[in-house]
């Protein structure tokens, strides 16, 4: 079994506690925002347990009759949780939203909350690197990719992080032809919004000036490298970057 990767002490403690109670007849629940990795964690710890969707009350009740141990996914979608009996069973439930706190408190022995990525920054770098390797393999990108923090989107936790890493890998490996095709699609889609030639030039000039200033440091050197007048450069910088 592959290890569940985390650098977060809180997540490690959740794993430890769930592992300690794996042979007990108790009901536990793992909650947390969407995309925090609840389902992956539970599947990693209990790969052999049957899983059932909480939204299907009939199937859930039948599964509870047939199984002594069960994973209930989307527990927050169970239509009538009061009708369920977990007595003498090992239950691991998963829920995006805690919803009825009283119900959880009375139903479950242990309630675990997987923290969102913003509260475990140590995992952001870890997963960004995992997704970078995965993206480079799938997209067949060999050149080195450097992920800047501002490029990583954690608003929807691991889901948005993965998507943002894929986008970044694509962007950093894009050649001239792909950039032109990308711009072509962009212009085609936005002509109806009233395109202005001068404003659209910003698409080219803004990143060029940002990259140039970072590379050369002084406006004098950059003007020389770009082959334009120093005053023209200063005017462009004022217009595009201020």
């Amino acid at each position: 079994m592959q290890n569940y990767l985390t650098h977060s002490d809180t997540v490690k403690k959740i794993i430890k506690s769930l592992d300690l109670t794996r042979h007990l007849s108790i009901a536990s629940i793992v909650t947390g925002e969407p995309g925090t990795g609840k389902r992956t964690l539970v599947r990693y710890l209990f790969p052999d347990l049957p899983r059932i969707d909480g939204a299907d009350q009939d199937r859930l009740e039948q599964a509870l009759e047939e199984s002594s141990a069960l994973i209930i996914e989307r527990f927050d979608k169970v239509p009538n949780p009061d009708a369920l009996s977990f007595e003498g069973k090992h239950i691991i439930a998963i829920a995006d939203h805690t919803g009825n706190a009283r119900l959880l408190d009375e139903t479950f022995a242990f309630i675990y909350t997987l923290p969102p990525l913003r509260d475990r920054p140590e995992d952001i770098a870890l997963y960004a690197d995992i997704y970078r390797q995965e993206a480079q393999r799938i997209l067949q990108v060999d050149e080195p990719i450097v992920l800047e923090k501002r490029a990583l989107d954690i608003r929807k936790n691991l889901r948005s992080l993965r998507a943002s890493v894929y986008r970044e890998v694509l962007l950093q490996s894009t050649d001239r032809e792909a950039i032109e095709r990308g711009l072509y699609h962009y212009f085609t889609a936005t002509f109806d919004e009233g395109s202005n030639y001068h404003a659209l030039l910003g698409l080219f000039e803004r990143p060029l000036l940002q990259a140039g200033l970072k590379r050369y440091g002084s406006q004098l050197q950059l003007a020389e490298a770009l082959g334009i007048n120093r005053n023209t450069l200063r005017k462009k910088i004022h217009e595009r970057l201020s």
């Binding site: 403690k13 959740i14 007990l24 108790i26």
Partner: protein, 235 residues
Amino acid sequence: MNASPDRDLSFFVDKDNSPFVLFDATGVILYLNDAAEILLGYTDRRTLYELALTYAPQDFGSRTTVLDLHYHQLNFYAIQVAYADEESIGLRLYYRPRTHRAQPTEPQRMQLTNVNTILEAAITLFSMEHTTRLELLTDADLPEFRLDQQTFSQLLRKSLHLFRASSQLRISLRLAIGESMILEQRRYPVVRLSIEANGRYSEDDETIKQLAESANILPTLSENSLLFDIPFIRS
């Protein structure tokens, strides 16, 4: 009707369920019956002596006072103080009848359990959210015994939560030597779980009592501690 002077009543006093202590004029114990010996496991001689002096009758004779007294899980509803001379004073405490009887043991609901495992899982969960320093004293060799795992786990989670503001927590789990409890007419040794700090919240006390009793556990809740006497059922 008085017993004849030559009849020795000490056997009956010894075996009386109500604790009885006889002090001399300085508070030294001259005599105590079996029930009082148990009581002195939960309080001290000085406390009982002061209790006797506080509620003594104004003159020779006896006086019964109704008052609530709690010494851990021992609860009393009244005391009687009596003295016939200046040399000695007697104190008797009357047990409060139990108004709630623990539910009968349901063996099918109780599983052989390593209680240390549940305790460790609960402490791990607690330590995720709190930086409380823990002092843990458990008997790692405690054999498995029958527990309602679900209820006991809930009980632990809720109990620890009451100490969420404590900077330091002392937890001990061990067999209470020489103590026993009776369930369904059978006597069992006692495993005692104690959770102590300098203070605690109390908003869930009633729920904790209910959970404990539904798991056949005897709870003693005080200002700074929670104490649970768990029947050590091995068969």
